[in-house]
């Protein structure tokens, strides 16, 4: 799911800090965003905008952090509105709903662990590519 690889150049101390911060930002946003999943995406997007003119290493990791939030947003938003439907409308709690909540919890947890791991690694100048997002970022983000 996660693999470390050599980057095209060796990033400086300042770059690794900025790149690592893009993941830290998504972590903080996860805490602030609960239960509104859109907050994570907005926060990561603002951070992305603020850093899109920086060096390739920083841009690359900001892009990967942003992309990872989009899939979380989709999963969490669906769960959020399903919950609202149950609380305020005629939806009822079902095994399908509970299993969905457990599933998104597991995916969020996986992403959380991956984010912490990546934040630490990139801070040390190690390039980390995620499953899907790494390949997608390679397509979007060019040197």
């Amino acid at each position: 799911m996660i693999r470390t690889s050599a980057f095209t150049y060796s990033p400086s101390e300042h770059e690794t800090e900025k790149a690592s911060n893009s993941y830290v930002m998504s972590l903080v946003a996860v805490m602030a965003g609960l239960p509104l999943p859109i907050v994570n995406l907005i926060a990561t997007f603002i951070f992305y905008l603020g850093n899109k003119r920086r060096t390739f290493f920083v841009r690359w990791h900001c892009t990967q952090a942003l992309l990872s939030q989009i899939s979380l947003l989709a999963m969490n938003s669906f769960g959020f509105w399903w919950t609202i439907g149950i609380l305020f409308y005629d939806e009822t709690i079902s095994s399908l709903y509970i299993s969905y909540i457990i599933t998104i919890f597991l995916f969020n947890l996986t992403e959380l662990i991956a984010t912490i791991y990546t934040a630490v690694k990139t801070r040390n100048g190690i390039h980390v590519e995620w499953w899907i997002y790494g390949a997608l970022t390679n397509l979007i983000c060019k040197p």
Binding site: M75, L87, F88, I93, S94, S95, L96, I98, S99, Y100, I102, T103, L106, F107, W131, I132, A135, L136, L139
Partner: protein, 268 residues
């Protein structure tokens, strides 16, 4: 690009397989979900009624209870609603008010019965409150206003629970349902009355009349002041029944109705 699509398909497949696999488990029974909700509603209803019962004088006189019970039973039996699940309470209070508490407690103030000109008007109010019960409006309103966690902790008797329950009790009777819920309860009531062969038009007349009277006496007419847009609601009912063929049968005799009003006046 092919690599991304391949990885995306694998990830989506993992997501749906996890969801599908987990959904095979009976989470509802494993986590005791329904029972928890039910217990919360039962506890809330009984706690609320306990609070009101201390503050209000409930009427137990058969000559007052029986006619109202006949009307309620008629509406229930003709609409396949289990009458035995509804706890009817008639309270001695001159305010024009009626409300539904969780766990199907239906509270009617003597002032409301006395302000009805005929049994059909009272049936309309009864039907409206049953509509709130059947559509689960009480719990929905409470959850919307205070949240499920607060409700569960209030009933669990945690610290401050007593005060919390009193505040919740105020919420359930002093605040209005939203427009959508009121409309739904009105239409439910009208349908119940039509099914029971009771003319719903007097219910609309009742709403219209009280909405006009509340302009002068706002504090006395709680049922209307906590049920906004009564004129609009009355119009909605007139519109709903406009083209419907409606039977008009009496559930209790005119004498019984008059006696009910007289006994209530005696109680006061």
């Amino acid at each position: 690009m092919g690599k991304v699509i391949f990885q995306l398909i694998i990830a989506v497949a993992i997501f749906f397989l996890t969801w599908f696999g987990l959904s095979k488990a009976d989470w509802i029974n494993t986590l005791n979900v329904k029972q928890t909700t039910k217990t919360t509603e039962e506890k809330l209803g009984d706690l609320f009624w306990e609070i009101y019962n201390k503050a209000e004088r409930e009427i137990h006189r058969k000559k007052i209870i029986n006619p109202v019970d006949s009307l309620l039973s008629k509406i229930c039996s003709e609409n396949k609603i289990d009458r035995s699940t509804i706890k009817l309470h008639i309270v001695m209070n001159s305010e024009v008010n009626a409300y539904t508490l969780p766990n199907r407690h239906l509270v009617i103030f003597s002032g409301l019965i006395l302000s009805c000109k005929n049994e059909e008007e009272l049936c309309g109010v009864l039907g409206h409150e049953i509509g709130h019960m059947e559509n689960d409006h009480v719990m929905k309103k409470l959850i919307k206003e205070v949240g499920l966690t607060v409700l569960i902790s209030a009933t669990a008797g945690s610290s401050g629970g007593g005060q919390a329950i009193k505040e919740l009790a105020k919420t359930v009777t002093s605040t209005a349902y939203d427009r959508e819920m009121e409309h739904e309860a009105d239409l439910s009531s009208v349908s119940y009355l039509i099914n029971a062969g009771i003319n719903p038009k007097p219910f609309a007349d009742f709403l219209l009349r009280l909405s006009q009277e509340t302009k002068h006496l706002p504090k006395q007419f709680f049922w209307v002041t906590t049920h906004p847009d009564s004129e609009e609601r009355a119009e909605g009912i007139y519109e709903f029944i406009k083209d419907k063929k409606i039977d008009s049968t009496k559930v209790i005799s005119d004498n019984t109705w008059e006696s009910l009003l007289n006994y209530l006046e005696d109680e006061e």
